[in-house]
């Protein structure tokens, strides 16, 4: 299933929004961000809500366009690709969203939702082959057949996230961007999903960009961490270095918070 080297690079990317009376007030969601992801790398994008990490996830999947700078995939600027190249790109770079139950078409049965990637990229030749492939993946992901005839609102968060990841894996992407995939899930379900992602990375040699605000999760999943605040990158380093020798003040602050403390003694008015 290994399909070659992947390299995604952000070069001085800025995403800004104009607001105010004459559009003169500028907010930068992402400010001059540069980093790269190699094949088989697992990188965590860590930061608070509103620091720009979700924007980066969307820029990388062409759901948003950068105001300045380039995003390059294997040497090609993703925003200057032909239609055919874009389709290939979408297959290679996929995203797992935060709210699993809200990313499926509420009017489509789950069978059709699951079959959609197979149909879009013509990965199977007939309905019989399609059903066989779906059955194969369903058992790989520990899902039962009765789900296929249901609608998205009739399944749990954990099942929905499994289905979301399953659809993506059917395309054999080179890079998976996970945008807070387990934030809305319970602890035990989170553990199952994270294990699942890890197994997939190991077997398929897929690269991972894991976006989260949860230090413990990123520490467990990723080899390298990018720390962001207010749209800018503060630090990029291996996981051990970030936790043991944080360079930036903010990173030190973040890492320090993982240690538990006595509530009453710390409060200041």
């Amino acid at each position: 299933m290994f399909r070659g080297v992947c390299m995604l690079e952000f070069k001085n990317v800025t995403k800004q929004y104009h607001s105010g009376v004459f559009g003169t007030y500028i907010t930068k969601a992402v400010d001059s961000v540069s980093f790269s992801i190699d094949a088989n790398e697992r990188i965590g994008l860590l930061g608070e809500s509103g620091c720009g990490k979700s924007t980066i996830a969307r820029l990388a999947t062409k759901l948003l366009y950068p105001s300045k700078g380039n995003i390059v995939f294997n040497g090609n600027d993703i925003n200057r690709m032909s239609a055919g190249e874009i389709k290939e790109y979408r297959r290679d770079v996929q995203i797992v969203f935060q709210n699993p139950q809200q990313i499926f078409n509420p009017r489509m049965k789950l069978y059709d939702t699951i079959a959609e990637p197979l149909r879009l990229y013509k990965l199977t030749k007939c309905p019989k082959e399609e059903k066989e492939k779906i059955d194969e993946y369903m058992s790989m992901f520990g899902l039962t057949d009765d789900i296929l005839s249901r609608y998205p609102k009739e399944i749990s968060g954990g099942q929905a996230q499994r289905i979301a990841i399953m659809r993506i894996i059917m395309l054999e992407p080179k890079l998976i961007i996970a945008d807070e995939p387990t934030t809305m899930l319970d602890v035990s379900v989170q553990a199952q999903i994270l294990r699942l992602l890890q197994n997939i990375m190991d077997v398929n040699k897929t690269a991972l960009l894991f976006v989260s605000h949860d230090l413990d999760v990123i520490r467990a999943m990723c080899q390298k961490i990018i720390v962001m605040k207010d749209g800018r990158i503060l630090e990029i380093n291996t996981t051990e270095e970030v936790f043991e020798h944080p360079k930036d003040e903010y990173t030190k602050f973040l890492v320090g918070k993982t240690n538990l403390y006595n509530v009453q003694s710390v409060f200041t008015a």
Partner: protein
């Protein structure tokens, strides 16, 4: 509508001056009018026309309106602005007067009545469809659909359309009533359907001189119109409840 004509024992257009203005009785449940025609039969045949016209207007109007609305909502930018200005211009004309103007230009007749009413109505559906499209566009599943590689056309057909059609059907059903009344109003004013059509508005107009001696001539079509509008409103609300039982499900979730 298919059952109706078989209930009629009399020919709705048969003129019998000997039996004019008979009050409601066993043979003529709604009496007869000034030309001796059975009022009940005329009301039933009139239903064909009034409801038929309304359904055509609503279906064609919704089709045009939804297309314009989805295109405007999805495309955004200049296309959206231009289309919405057009919609706003259409909506700023008072409905009945605009219909009168259209009929005045095109001439009388049922087909022209349909055209006039459709021209007035489509803008309402366009505005609704655009609003619903924008709501759907903000949903996570549209982003997921784009990310997985769906083309723009597929997103409109498989994602946007099925998710807005529910609301459109409800509003369309609820608007059948007002369209029936608008059609009746136009016929009452002498435009649209012509004598001897048993269209309700025309019947009400015809009966207005006999309101003292034979009130049933105006009352019957009037009541029929009211009851039909009421029935379609209930239908519209029922469909709405069927399509949107979200509130019940939340209680079950816990």
């Amino acid at each position: 509508m298919t059952v109706g004509p078989s209930l009629c024992t009399h020919d709705p257009n048969a003129v019998k001056y000997s039996e004019k203005c008979i009050s409601p009785c066993a043979e003529y449940p709604f009496g007869t009018d000034f030309s001796g025609r059975c009022v009940l039969c005329r009301v039933i045949y009139g239903a064909h026309i009034s409801i038929g016209v309304a359904l055509v207007v609503v279906v064609v109007g919704a089709f045009i309106g939804v297309t314009v609305g989805i295109v405007a909502g999805y495309a955004g930018g200049a296309v959206d602005s231009i289309l919405m200005r057009l919609v706003e211009i259409m909506l700023s004309f008072p409905g009945t007067i605009f219909a009168l103007a259209v009929l005045g230009t095109l001439g009388n007749g049922t087909i022209n009545q349909i055209i006039a009413l459709t021209v007035v109505r489509w803008a309402h559906y366009a505005r609704l469809a655009r609003g619903e499209t924008l709501t759907v566009m903000n949903s996570d599943y549209i982003q997921a659909a784009q990310a997985i590689g769906n083309s723009r056309l597929r997103i409109i057909v498989s994602y946007i359309f099925p998710n807005i059609i529910g609301q459109i059907i409800v509003i369309a059903t609820l608007s059948i009533g007002p369209v029936i009344l608008a059609g009746a109003a136009l016929s009452y004013l002498g435009l649209g359907a012509q004598i001897p059509s048993p269209e309700w508005g025309l019947m009400i107009n015809g009966g207005k001189e006999y309101i003292r001696q034979a009130p049933w001539i105006t009352l019957a079509p009037g009541m029929a119109a009211v009851l039909t509008v009421f029935a379609f409103n209930l239908l519209g609300e029922g469909i709405g409840d069927m399509i949107d039982p979200r509130l019940k499900e939340k209680a079950e979730a816990d």
